[in-house]
Symmetry: C2
Subunit: 231 residues, 2 copies
DNA sequence: CGCGGCTTTGATGTTCATCAAGTAAAGTGG
DNA sequence: CCACTTTACTTGATGAACATCAAAGCCGCG
């Protein structure tokens, strides 16, 4: 991690949209004065499971994975996202430790604010607290819904679902570079790496997608949606 | 559903513990005046997925399942709980509709408060909002963690996990009456009904549990924990 | 150029779903 | 309360889906 090289004016920060509506100038100044910004390179870990929670963290730019380590070579990926802006582990306001780890899948910019300052603002300002409550609920709900969506599908359906997730929720494009390894897709959907690769190969043979290394191009999105829905 | 037969004094209500610390007498009176209490018999549905959200709901007593219907005979159970006291669908403060359904697994007592009243209190009182935020985060985190715990196990491990969940989180006893059908266990752990039954039969043959209809007795909890952990 | 990690493919075996058929239990109407 | 119907449960047999293992190709990096 390195510090951001440009001074942060908070002006283009999306967090501001949540904040500014509810906080007075003084509170905003206080937030800005106490924030730390960090750049994380692709692959770097932003925080570890079981680290002590010290900051409320917000993903300004980039792409991250939220995951849990079970064994040496056994990871479960909980979410891959740009949108879950608050990338804090759940229970950030109660628990002492992060319950999950977060790592950057693309170069990412993180804004950190001391958790005690946020807690104080929450208790002082019900509108702010309600705003945070709603946003966090959305994040949680997305994670749970996605977990259920993946669970109800078979192998091919899960792979199709993930490919389409990148199309619609991450890149907004039918062609993109996978930000994750084949193994990470497997960790995400709860299947074996070999079978994820096999399924991608099958899709390619059937002309549904084209792959070249990390680059994925969706050729027949209707068919892929069909596989995702029926699987 | 029927109305509670005794007048509700809110005195033994656990919700009070969250509330009373932060709300003034007037607010508490307002809450109490606007609450509705309902008794739901085992099997009754408390609210349906896609119902319009009108109330903030709290489980005072009983046991419920939170679930999602995919097809006519295809349900996914998200959680079974006494403890997730706020049995609102997630995003209760933002969404218009419940995203999941809730049904009573045992006779249950539900307290409902108009959502607008709660919203008003949240914005007026940051401490109250923070209290709700923390409690909801705990609920979400439990659901997500459990989803991951189940996902990483195989069939036998999942069945063992669920049996142990009832022991430690629901009944605090090695012998209990299952509040769910075999099919519901299957919907909970994402396996087929036949295989759930087969696994229970296997456990019985191996002397790990005893079953008689809905009654389950754990005979060898160490072994069951082993199966849950290694599976 | 060579090493290690990621990817790919095939072969094999395990795990699990599905189907079918039968039994027990629970609800329903006379 | 009993006959009837329906729903839940149980078990076995079969095949499909998936994991695992192994070997080989590829790619980036020192």
């Amino acid at each position: 991690m390195e510090k951001a090289d440009k001074s942060c004016l908070c002006e283009n920060c999306e967090f501001r949209e949540v904040v500014i509506k509810y906080l007075d100038d003084e509170s905003i100044k206080k937030l800005c004065a106490n924030k730390k910004e960090g750049l994380y390179r692709k692959g770097e870990i932003i925080y570890y499971q079981d680290d002590k929670i010290s900051d409320f963290k917000y993903l300004k730019r980039g792409l991250v994975k939220l995951y849990r380590r079970n064994g040496l070579n056994d990871e479960q990926i909980i979410a891959i996202t740009r949108n879950f802006d608050f990338i804090n582990s759940m229970s950030v306001f109660k628990e002492e430790k992060y319950r999950f780890s977060v790592a950057a899948l693309e170069d990412s910019e993180i804004c950190s604010i001391n958790i005690e300052i946020i807690k104080k603002l929450l208790t002082e300002n019900g509108n702010f607290a309600t705003g945070i409550l709603i946003r966090m609920s959305n994040i949680y709900e997305k994670i749970i819904t996605q977990c259920l969506e993946i669970r109800k599908r078979n192998l091919a359906g899960r792979v199709a679902y993930v490919l389409l997730y990148f199309v619609s929720e991450v890149y907004n494009s039918n062609i993109y570079d996978l930000p994750v390894s084949r193994k990470e897709i497997a960790d995400y959907i709860g299947m074996s790496t070999a079978n994820v690769i096999r399924t991608l190969s099958d899709f390619k043979k059937e002309g549904i997608i084209n792959t070249e290394g990390k680059t994925i191009e969706i050729l027949d999105i209707k068919k892929l949606e069909l596989i995702s829905d029926k699987g």
